[in-house]
Amino acid sequence: MKYEYIDDITSDVKFRAYGNNLKELFENAALALANIFCESDKIQNRKTIEISVEGTDRSDLMVNWLTNIIAEVDIEEMFFCGFEIVEVSNTILRAKAFGDDISPELGGTVAKAVTNFNFELKETKEGFMVQVVIDI
């Protein structure tokens, strides 16, 4: 499983994303987020942007990565359908994000921000898991 939504928060969205390695973890968390904004499987891959973020540790890097994606939806006015992590360490990430210009009929809702509530990033037997609550 790449990610799942956990339905125990009344007003917002919680998801868990998984990965065998950090690359997969960051990719899948981004996909879970992208799917709040839109039906990401219906979005064409017509436009690519590059995103670079830094963080003080893995958790901070994850929060900054997701916050950056939220910002790019507004700035580039695009919906995302996929991500490729080019390089990731505990403190630096370089990635490509794929998608298309926004089409409101495919829209979901606005993800306002990544919160600290119930945030958890940990190593598991299979690799990594992150749990994130998004304010919508």
């Binding site: 939504y5 339905d7 125990d8 928060i9 009344t10 007003s11 917002d12 969205v13 904004f37 839109c38 916050t67 939220i70 910002a71 939806v73 507004d74 700035i75 006015e77 695009m78 919906f79 926004i102 409101p104 009929e105 495919l106 829209g107 979901g108 809702t109 606005v110 306002k112 921000a113 990544v114 919160t115 600290n116 509530f117 304010d135 919508i136």
Partner: protein, 467 residues
């Protein structure tokens, strides 16, 4: 934490500071028995956390629509000493100056009945709705002016009138907003979005005055005619405000360490009121507040133009005047009477509306249910730092709503009640189905009974636009 609460009277419940050793002051819940029964213990736990912060002034108050939030519950007010207290980005929340503009008219329900669908369709074309909705206005190098001047900028540029500013909290412009304190990323997000509604619980509604409770106030505000048509616009500072909040949460998380502030919950990130980290946030937040005031007034202008197009009259002759425009996520420096003395304090309203004496308090219901206009009072000044509730509050997650409701059915059910609805897609209608929210009537009965904002009129929807 709820088990520690004591009934004060039919509309007030005390969370005594004895409930927890770290609490510096009492907490309070405004609500009738039904509200008390419904409120989650975790929500009161969050309230108790805020009672532990430095310089907090009694009481930290949960309003009847309070529900679990981040740090402070949504639907709450917390005030801090201007010298000894804190200013908190965590307490204000992500959607800075999410708020409401209410507009009246001299049109009656019968005048618009035949054109209701056309009106909703035209409004949907004119007011950009939905996630990532593209604004028609590109601010480019004007963004700093909007952040500094707020709705005044809108008026100077042909959107709205001076009269609208007179009917807006803070005159539509918080003084002391400093665009230099707003990050370039936040500005980038804000440039294309001024004059857009957004999505989620934001909406535009055509309403009718369904019931008048206070003839005198209703007459003064021009809403005393039953079945007259009104408009309610609910939205905020869009991506710009979200980014300002995210940026300063990080800055204030560091400040908490720097100034050695003990926090019961990391989400209550804050900084001493007199520190740079506190004042910089306050200046940046004011920018987001101003952006939202401009955002709503620009859309008000387009709403008026749409009425002109559909009804073939100018908006002045239809008297599409602003009843009032308010913020319900905001930090304000205000003068209040504390222990008998006038004092300047920082009031954090999160999902809470200013309820100063004789000023309109705008409270949004849900699609298909009622909204209300109430009136602020001296009692609110004494008991809740001049604050009241802001809405109904969700009872069901969006995910659960999607499982429980279908957008087409929601739309059909609204139509059976005579309500025309339009959304960017069916999903957003299902997510915001009336059944996914708490009963707004109990919330209103509570603020009315407690005397913090008695009812003036009840409004019912005729047409709904969702993002």
């Amino acid at each position: 934490m709820k088990d520690k609460m004591e009934k004060i009277n039919d509309y007030e419940w005390l969370l005594p500071k004895s409930a927890r050793k770290e609490m510096r002051v009492d907490g309070k819940l405004f609500g009738n028995q039904a509200i008390f029964d419904q409120v989650e213990s975790d929500t009161m736990g969050q309230l108790s956390n805020v009672c532990c912060l430095p310089g907090v002034i009694e009481p930290v108050a949960a309003l009847p629509d309070a529900h679990f939030g981040y740090g402070l519950p949504m639907g709450a007010v917390a005030a801090f000493d201007a010298e000894e207290g804190v200013i908190s980005s965590g307490l204000c929340g992500f959607d800075i100056n999410c708020g409401i503009n209410s507009i009246r008219s001299n049109l009656m329900v019968k005048d618009i009945e035949d054109k209701k669908r056309e009106l909703v369709t035209e409004l949907f074309k004119t007011v950009p709705c939905g996630v990532g909705s593209k604004g028609k206005l590109r601010l480019d190098d004007k963004i700093d002016d909007v952040l500094e001047l707020g709705a005044k900028w809108a008026v100077e540029n042909g959107y709205g009138t001076k009269k609208d500013l007179d009917r807006t909290e803070e005159g539509g412009c918080m003084q002391g907003a400093d665009p230099k304190k707003v990050s370039e990323l936040a500005k980038k997000r804000g440039r294309p979005q001024c004059g857009t509604l957004g999505a989620g619980n934001h909406f535009l509604e055509i309403q009718r005055v369904a019931e008048v409770f206070d003839e005198t106030a209703a007459k003064e505000w021009g809403i005393d005619q039953k079945d007259s048509v009104a408009v309610m616009l609910h939205c905020g500072s869009r991506g710009l405000g979200h980014q300002v909040a995210s940026d300063y949460l990080k800055i204030q998380e560091q400040a908490v360490k720097k100034y050695n502030i003990w926090l019961p919950d990391r989400q209550l990130a804050c900084a001493p009121a007199t520190s740079d980290e506190g004042q910089d946030y306050f200046s940046a937040m004011k920018c987001a507040v101003n952006y939202a005031f401009a955002n709503r007034l620009i859309m008000t202008h387009w709403i008026r133009e749409t009425f002109e197009k559909v009804f073939g009259q100018d908006w002045e002759s239809m008297e599409l005047d602003t009843i009032y425009a308010i913020a319900h996520n905001v930090v304000k420096k205000e003068e209040h009477r504390i222990d008998g003395k006038k004092k300047e304090i920082y009031v954090h309203r999160k999902g809470a509306t200013r309820a100063f004496p004789d000023i309109p308090v705008l409270i949004a219901g849900t699609m298909g249910t009622s909204s209300y206009i109430c009136k602020g009072t001296e009692i609110a000044m004494e008991k809740s730092f001049g604050s009241s509730c802001h809405g109904a509050g969700r009872a069901m997650s969006r995910h659960a709503a999607l499982k429980g409701f279908k957008g087409e059915e929601v739309s059909d059910n609204l139509l059976k009640k005579g309500i025309v609805s339009k959304a960017t897609n069916w999903k957003s209608l299902a997510e915001e189905a009336p059944g996914a929210y708490k009963d707004v009537d109990e919330v209103i009965e509570s603020v009315h009974g407690a005397g913090i904002s008695p009812k003036v009129v009840k409004l019912e929807p005729l047409g709904v636009l969702k993002g």
